[in-house]
Assembly symmetry: C2
Homo-oligomer: 333 residues x 2
């Protein structure tokens, strides 16, 4: 706007504009960004003189961490126009000669090297896999990582647990029963199918956690991301169970000292928050009782960025209570 | 997903899906929804036996208010797929025979009547005009409203004031000066151009308010929405001024007793919050001093949903302080 005669800067300004907010949120996620920084800065012995590939580099912060950590060359790849800003930021920080930024798809961009020593990437989405770039990281690994190459981070775990969530369920789900004097309950059926990304307090957890997916970045394949997993949840207290909550943990195992962060309810806030799957019924659980079930996850056929889930559970109270079983479907979109 | 063989419900499910969250936020905005409800329920003498047009009806809540208020016929028009849900909700509430829902553009849909007695619409966007449907309401008025017809609401005022906002400005703007040890200050220039929609505390206001636009729904034209206005702000206390905050007030003047709600910092929370325009400099103001200026607003040429602003101000401290003047440009997108 301020340079109406400069077509490039004009385009650039408008293109980059929308995206600043997203990158601001990610950069301000201190758990995320400081863990990556620590993992890279504590691994100077691994990065020194190496060629590093940053998959989905965004503003280039991870590329800059790698350059500061002694990498001989860092290659940042991103499809978004933000990469034009990343290029300038690297120059502003005297790293313009150490980092090469390439705009385009990982499959299509022409890298200045045949192979790289290390791949760094912050690819995780809500519930780990929603709109995640993991498939792109897998592609980069298969195309460019040396046989003995490293990946930062290199391990992810997806977990679920049961929560007492009566107050919030009433606000999100039961709300539709009476909307200013009208019956909106049919919207309730849609709302129940929509996992909610929000903050869950640690105190809401009423069962043990169950790991439903383990990802080794060195060996995972794209088809592993369409998965089916059993789960066993043991009630840790006598309470009501309204929903399942999902989160993920991330590990950097190749640092001098392995680093880890969790996006779970018990951990410090991250912009990924947690993901809540409401059950249609309310389970009355007693400490020690078991909820068993199965969860399946696959990309939605209509929009591969969206995730479809099927959750089946079975609950047989130890006391005279009614045994319950149900299967619910969800769409994270 | 639960009815893979039912193509319609399938499509409908996915189409309506994305939109529930938006409608939930609007319905849960109690200031918004209860004021509309009160305006319509308190005007049964005006709605009884009348034909009502609901512009941008969404879930149809306003149409249902009008039907319950005695309207003979309510016509709800919306382009979004949510109107399929609205139709079913009206039936669920035994109002299916009183409300006709038409999906499409106001300019193109074929109404079952030549003229209507009353137009109801919740058309307001952030800072009143951002992504607002006011142009559609004007179109509906000119095409369908009887000469003596009514519009609910029928008056809007856009206002600005100065605020002390040091802490938040540091978080949103100065943050870019040092991002984990790197200079990201060039992003600061983009951030400064972006008005921020967020909650401003009443205590942050340090000047009088200035009205920059008055809209009479009976006479306003589309070109009135591209405007230029002078403003005068008198410092109400000795403090720093970091930004201008904008908000709007809405009136229903044709009710038995006129109704009003404000989206200002001094009023109860609404989903419109307030809109903050950061100045590049910090003004040191003393109670009684005046800031004069001019604000222009027009739709962005590239995307007519976005708004371009130019804010010029002049500040001459009564004391020996340095006189300041500047012109800043903003894009709300």
């Amino acid at each position: 706007m301020s340079q109406p005669n400069n077509e490039y800067s004009e385009k650039h300004y408008f293109a980059s504009y929308d995206h600043i907010g997203i990158h601001e949120e990610m950069l301000k996620d201190e758990v995320r960004t400081t863990t990556y920084r620590q993992a890279i800065y504590n691994s100077k012995h691994l990065f020194k003189g190496k060629v590093v590939l940053d998959v989905g580099c965004g503003t280039g912060i991870l590329s800059m961490f790698a350059a500061r950590s002694g990498a001989a060359l860092v290659i940042g790849v991103d499809m978004s126009s933000i990469i034009e800003t990343a290029k300038k930021l690297a120059e502003d920080n005297d790293l313009g000669d150490k980092i090469v930024f390439l705009r385009g798809k990982m499959e299509e961009v022409k890298l200045p090297v045949d192979k790289v020593d290390i791949i760094i990437s912050e690819w995780m989405g809500y519930f780990l896999l929603y709109e995640s770039m993991l498939d792109t990281v897998i592609c980069a690994r298969d195309m460019y990582l040396k046989p003995d190459g490293l990946i930062f981070p290199d391990h992810a775990t997806l977990k679920i647990a049961g929560i007492e969530d009566g107050a919030y369920k009433a606000e999100k789900i039961d709300f539709w029963d009476d909307v200013y004097g009208f019956d909106f309950s049919r919207i309730k059926q849609t709302a129940l199918r929509e996992p909610i990304v929000d903050i869950v307090e640690a105190g809401a957890i009423v069962t043990t956690a169950s790991s439903i997916l383990e990802i080794d970045l060195y060996t995972v394949t794209v088809k592993d991301l369409e998965f089916r997993s059993d789960f066993n949840l043991i009630a840790t207290r006598t309470d009501y169970l309204h929903a399942l909550v999902g989160w993920f943990d991330i590990k950097f195992t190749k640092c001098h000292k392995p680093l880890y962060f969790s996006t779970g309810p018990h951990a410090r806030y991250t912009h990924w928050k947690q993901t809540v799957f409401y059950l249609h019924d309310i389970l009355s659980i007693n400490a020690g009782e078991k909820i068993t079930g199965e969860i399946t996850c696959k990309p939605n056929d209509k929009n591969h960025r969206d995730l479809e889930f099927t959750v089946s559970y079975e609950f047989s109270p130890a006391d005279a209570g009614r045994a319950m079983r149900a299967t619910h479907e969800y769409l994270l979109c």
